[in-house]
Symmetry: C2
Subunit: 298 residues, 2 copies
């Protein structure tokens, strides 16, 4: 598969989407991108696993990083994380723009995410004599009660309003069709605004589920909006629309950890991300291309 | 492995238990039993899959069937069911004694069992924007509410008191760690007293979970005690202790469908069946052997 970089940006997007690129299996797509970029004489191209970096060396006073992921699952496998360890020099710049779906407005910062397993324990028994046991699945009703009555925070951070969430994303329990189960595990996902650290978020989750066994299984910090940074001001001026908070976790947080301001900006409705009818309007692809080109060459 | 039928009944039990016999993998044990019984000149031995039947042909006026299962999982794979289809003549008799753990008293009849999947549906969304979706796992809290507040019936049937149960034996839901799940399935097991037919039990389960999607996935009928049958009276007289209801499903129900009275009688505490510390007191094995031998040769 060869990518034609001279084609219309919507056609090029369609070509990219047509290549299967589930996380861990995006090598073909990464290779195609690297081949296409290597033909351009003003770029030096580096690769690290399936991460591809193309850099200018034009001696300009500021450097902007445009970053996006080419696989289809976020967080779990992240080439940027590996790249930050192997070649942090390739990621150094004054501002990073994460090409996440934002509906072509600036979305500032990102919320953190944390997963925890909340477990109930019981006692096995044959289900014909259920009163001899203690049903751990029934006990998990208490965990679902907490989740059903939960009222998420909507705090304002640096002028943008975030919207938290605490949800069960998995539940599992059961030994056999005739056994009272002795364990039930509810996997919850806490999305937290960037006024909370990972440690504060973990303490909060433990407090919400006090009385239950809670194990934090993974987490990633949020990032404050950072719109007051000088490097962000020029892009804010170039993009139409009112900036808003980014609810999802994005690689903005990784750049924040590297000490760089970062914004989210890209085509596509963020409300549709990861849903069955996710799609990107062709007009927004063209708008993003035009805005970024005008801003970068100003 | 060779079984020594002349050994002490407790030693013989230990030899049987020592042979791995998980359902579907009990061929070695069945073959060993068939070999041992074939050496006895007064028995004609038949086999059907892993089911072994040894019959006398002494021309006596009544025939008693002593039946037990040699595998370690009940109901799911049942050689008796297959045998009833292939060779019903081998199962014909005046009374069947099911060698189930009863603590060496007569346990009459058995409860029926039914499994159903109770499902909630929601709408997928990215968990960072959970308010765009509808969480099916949270909705399953309503199903667990029903189960937690459920009061089981304890009806008296033909003089014996049964004890029903309605329990979750499995729960599953979840798409990915960052997705609001659109389906959650609670597998429930209803154990019902023999005053209810399978059809009545199914209608009851649907009524209890009205408002939810309910699919009956399998069921087996109960059996009334049948202690008033003349053939049962002589064994009742021979066995010490007060007869009681059998809560678990046993093959008594299969014999009831064949029109034969059947009882449960055997060593071992039924309350421990299928639990981690299930065991059989050696003295009860000897007591069962002596009682049955005296009764059969009276």
């Amino acid at each position: 598969m060869d990518l034609d970089l001279s084609s219309d940006s919507a056609d090029l997007t369609a070509s990219l989407v047509d290549v299967e690129s589930v996380s861990g299996g995006e090598a073909d797509l990464a290779a195609a991108i690297e081949r296409a970029l290597s033909d351009l004489p003003h770029l030096s191209v580096h690769s690290d696993g399936n991460a591809v970096v193309a850099r200018t060396t034009l001696g300009r006073p500021q450097r902007v990083i445009l970053a996006g992921h080419i696989d289809t699952v976020p967080i779990e496998r992240n080439g940027l994380l590996r790249l930050a360890r192997h070649r942090p020099d390739l990621l150094h710049g004054d501002l990073a723009v994460l090409m996440e779906p934002t509906g072509v407005v600036i979305e500032g910062g990102c919320q953190g995410t944390m997963r925890a397993e909340v477990t109930t324990r019981g006692k096995r028994a044959h289900s014909a004599r259920s009163w001899m046991g203690l049903n751990a699945i029934h006990a998990a009703g208490g965990i679902l009660d907490v989740l059903r009555s939960y009222q998420p925070r909507q705090p304002e951070v640096d002028g943008l309003t975030y919207h938290e969430g605490l949800n069960a994303v998995g539940i599992g329990g059961g030994v056999a069709g005739n056994v009272i189960p002795d364990e039930c595990v509810v996997t919850v996902n806490y999305r937290f605004a960037p006024d909370r650290s990972e440690a504060e978020a973990a303490a909060y989750v433990r407090e919400v589920f006090s009385g239950y066994e809670v194990e934090i299984t993974d987490s990633a910090p949020g990032a404050r909006p950072g719109l007051d940074h000088p490097a962000a001001a020029t892009l804010l001026a170039a993009v139409a629309g009112v900036p808003r908070a980014k609810f999802g976790w994005t690689d903005v947080a990784r750049f924040a950890l590297l000490g760089m301001p970062a914004l989210n900006y890209g085509p596509g409705d963020p409300m549709l991300a990861h849903s069955r009818d996710e799609h990107v309007p062709v007009a927004q692809i063209a708008e993003c291309e035009a805005t970024l080109e005008a801003w970068l060459t100003r």
